[in-house]
Amino acid sequence: MSHKLLEVRNLQTFFGDDDNLTRAVDDVSFGIDRDETLALLGESGSGKSITAHTIMRLLPPAARVAGGEVILDGQNLLKLPERRMRDIRGGRIAMIFQEPQSSLNPVLTAGQQIGETLARHQQLHGSAQRRRTLELLDEVGIPEARSRIDDYPHQFSGGMKQRIMIAMALAGRPDLLIADEPTTALDVTIQARILDLLKSLQRETHMGILFITHDIGVAAQVADHVAVMRHGCIVESNPREAFFARPRHPYTHELFDALPSRERRQREANDTRPDVASAPLLEVRDLKVHFPIRKGVFKRVVGHVRAVDGVSIRIHSGETVAMVGESGSGKTTLGKGILQLLKPTDGAVLFDGDELTRLRGDALRRRRADIQVVFQDPYASMNPRMLVGDIIEEGMLAQRVGGDRHERQARIEQLLQQVGLQAQHKNRYPHEFSGGQRQRICIARALAVDPKLIICDEPTSALDVSVQAQILDLLKDLQARLGLAYLFITHNIAVVEYLAHYVAVMYEGRVVEQGKVDDVLLQPQHEYTRKLLSAVPRPPEREAS
């Protein structure tokens, strides 16, 4: 008998039946002690969330546990009747999820939702319940808990919601906390605070934490022990120091190598040198995009949301300019303002001598070929009811380029090969491709009209690390061959280090700092930039192998 808090032995969870069997979790074993954090690291589809759901016995109906044991303090959870299991959930094991937005009930106040757990697991009611709720809110760092306890979820920010989720999880005084990507939906500065909070709570309550993440940097910051999952198996499991100093499994090496960073950029040395001396390709001067706030019967304008408030940048051909900022900083709106998808309130967008904000109708339509866009969500950015070939052809038809039908088809095939797909893929539908392949198709679609500038709006943030690396390489490669300029909108500093020549940091609609990438990232001048950079979780250096 081991003395660990939680012991998972040879766990197997399968989907489907004999004909169509998916081994989501296949022979997974690990243990977590009190005061210990185990980081379960893996890419999407590796089975890390299913492992957590199996421990909680919250599997979808299609899944079944095919074997193994989950032992919590000597008790096999998989054998317990459902009624006893309900006491375990929330009482001994608590769970927090990725999306704080959808995990909280919007029609109940924060206090009611925490109180529910208190009533269920601690039998606390009335004023005792309220006192404990206030204590919990204090513990998770909600300022002025007394005045906020009766607020509804929508009155809290994303980070605050996640704190409330943590307070709910703590309400049952759990021995084990399962955190399923708790910071993935949050900005990096908020992520840093939530991670600190979890660590300090662990010191106080001595709970064990199973921390599920795809981010090596986050794992490095929270874990005492790291287990890497792939295809439902744990391929490597080691204490933190040993894991980061001497990763052993080839897949772990792959993961580390895929991380974009300054070192990797220097290692590869396939950099392009933009021609900064000549006139800029795109010049944005004091651009403002304000959204009117209307109220009343006649929709009078009562104020403005200043999404972009006076931004000036220059992009030369062959150059990558990164626009860095957290969510709500206005970087996506800036991209749409440059593309003229949103009408700027004020300012100028000069492209190759043309003032885009003044162009109308056909003149603007012709100019659209020069600036193209790649979006964040590879699933929403293609019409699910069109063939890939038609999707790529659409721009050529609209711009009347690419010659006749046969020439266009040849061009589509060539484009698909250029982005690393096959010519016959043009006769398939988007849903037949993975996220990374879809993003390649989106790039091919943008390239179809021979643009000079591509605005990349977080093109890799929905992708796994290894796929992200491939897409970034493709973008670099295309830049070297075609002399493209990129405006790269991202929140990921590592990607900026790897890809950008020039960087601008955006905060609340304004650029607070801009300059060459090394200058800004190594010697940040503005206070916000420093805060942002210090919040980025980084894995420690590996020993040279």
Partner: protein, 470 residues
């Protein structure tokens, strides 16, 4: 034959053409075929579809109208009667032409009301007289009627069995040739439910349908299966004729409202701004007018116009037909709002989705974006609404005719039958068969339509699909 094309016939065949061309287009597109394949795999949906096919066949046969040739005219000089009948009337001629004096019960041989008749010996008596047609071939109905009905029903069952076996043999034979499988293996596959499409359900439902048709063909020429009405017309024939009216209301109304809902809904959602305001104010105004009042006013208006300009309507059929079309039109105008609202909401969501923005970044025109990107992605909503609305509209017709603002009183419809049954139910003894026939046949259409629309919704609604995958 001298074909007559009524307005509603024209629209129905337009609809049939549209459906055929849609099928031809959809066959080549995987994303359009996939949900229909799922419909074809639903057991309940396919059973409902078989019954609906029979209804539609009757409705379509009843939509080919012509002037029949006059029987008195000589062969080389054909003359056409002024009547307009349909192919279905022509098929049903043995039933249609057998008109009694007044009410008679189902399978009766005597009238339902006593009459004073002059007996051969010169005296008068009040008796239930024999029917002219119903059971007229029997010499002694008291003793022979039940055995005669039983023999004919037995014959009907035997015919049904033979026809069903033949149909199954042809179907399975055709499939086994197509799949290059031995006949027996295909047969075993079907009945052991190893085919993706539930052919066993189709075959069983087909058996039920064949039995009913075969029984009707055996019995209807000799008896009034559902009795006769006040003027002695066969109720079975009437209720079958009502099928066309029900189908017309259910389909043509949608056909009329669809362009409004699609055009206005998409325009409001896509362009927003003042277009959205105008569309929204229009439909909020329209839904705040009580629908029944609007329909009553419109129908009354038409009635006044018709009685003032009788010269514009050559035949009573023409008149009734135009009133039916007008009813469809006014029902369409009052019912497009809910679909329009749904489409507006969905378009609002779609216009901000990234593939639409990518198309805008290419400078694709608004019209192309609407037709290529938005329309195909809201089609599932249109389809689900159309099939769900169908049964509601069939029922609406019954209610409207009941309060006398529905179809023309001369037109056969379930609503009219129910309306006349209102008085019959007050009689003593009660005349129940008109109401019963209308009820059974209406249920026979609406229930399968609802079951089928459930199957369609399950297949097309993305949320339902997600539920099933989990």
């Amino acid at each position: 034959m001298n074909l007559v094309l009524l307005w509603t016939d024209m629209l129905v065949f337009l609809l049939v053409l549209a459906i055929i061309s849609f099928v031809l287009v959809a066959r080549r597109r995987e994303h359009m075929r996939a949900p229909w394949r799922q419909v074809a795999r639903s057991r309940m949906g396919m059973a409902a579809a078989v019954i609906l096919v029979v209804y539609v066949a009757i409705g379509l046969l009843d939509s080919i109208h012509f002037h029949p040739r006059d029987h008195d005219a000589s062969a080389d000089q054909p003359r056409y009667s002024a009547d307009v009948i349909s192919v279905f009337d022509w098929i049903m001629d043995p039933v249609r032409s057998k008109v009694e004096k007044t009410y008679s019960a189902p399978f009766a041989t005597h009238l339902y009301a006593k009459e004073t008749v002059r007996l051969p010996d010169g005296t008068q008596d009040r008796i239930y007289p024999r029917l002219e047609h119903g059971g007229a071939h029997l010499s002694d109905p008291e003793t022979q009627r039940l055995t005669d009905i039983a023999t004919r029903a037995g014959m009907g069952l035997i015919y049904a069995l033979v026809i069903w076996l033949l149909a199954v043999a042809v179907l399975v034979g055709w499939q086994s040739r197509g799949l290059q499988q031995p006949f027996r293996r295909r047969l075993a596959d079907i009945f052991k439910r190893r085919t993706p499409v539930p052919w066993d359900v189709i075959i069983y439902t087909g058996a039920v349908v064949i039995v009913f048709i075969s029984l009707a063909t055996q019995l209807a020429p000799h008896y009034h299966i559902f009795g006769t009405d006040k003027v002695g017309a066969d109720v079975f024939y009437q209720t079958l004729k009502s099928i066309r009216t029900g189908l017309m209301i259910g389909t043509l109304t949608t056909l009329i409202m669809l362009p409004f809902a699609l055009f206005l809904g998409l325009a409001a959602g896509y362009f927003r701004g003042w277009v959205d305001d105008v569309v929204q104010y229009t439909y909020t105004t329209l839904v705040s007018i009580p629908g029944v009042l609007l329909i009553a006013a419109a129908i009354l208006l038409l009635q006044v116009y018709m009685s003032n300009n009788p010269e514009q309507f050559s035949t009573p059929e023409n008149r009734a037909d135009l009133r039916l079309l007008f009813l469809c039109l006014i029902l369409g105008i009052t019912s497009w709002t809910s679909l329009c609202r749904l489409l507006r909401g969905e378009t609002l969501k779609l216009r901000d989705i990234e593939y639409v923005q990518a198309a805008q970044a290419f400078g694709v025109s608004h019209m192309t974006i609407l037709t290529r990107h938005i329309l195909p992605n809201v089609m599932h909503i249109v389809l689900i609404t159309v099939v769900l609305d169908f049964s509601a509209l069939v029922l609406a017709e019954a209610v409207l005719s009941y309060i006398n603002i529905g179809v023309d009183p001369s037109m056969n419809s379930w609503g009219n039958m129910i309306n006349s049954a209102r008085l019959e139910m007050a009689r003593d003894p009660v005349v129940w068969w008109s109401l019963a026939a209308a009820f059974i046949f209406m249920l026979g259409l609406v229930l399968p339509a609802n079951l089928f629309s459930d199957a369609v919704r399950d297949a097309f609604d993305p949320r339902m699909r997600k539920l099933q995958n989990n």
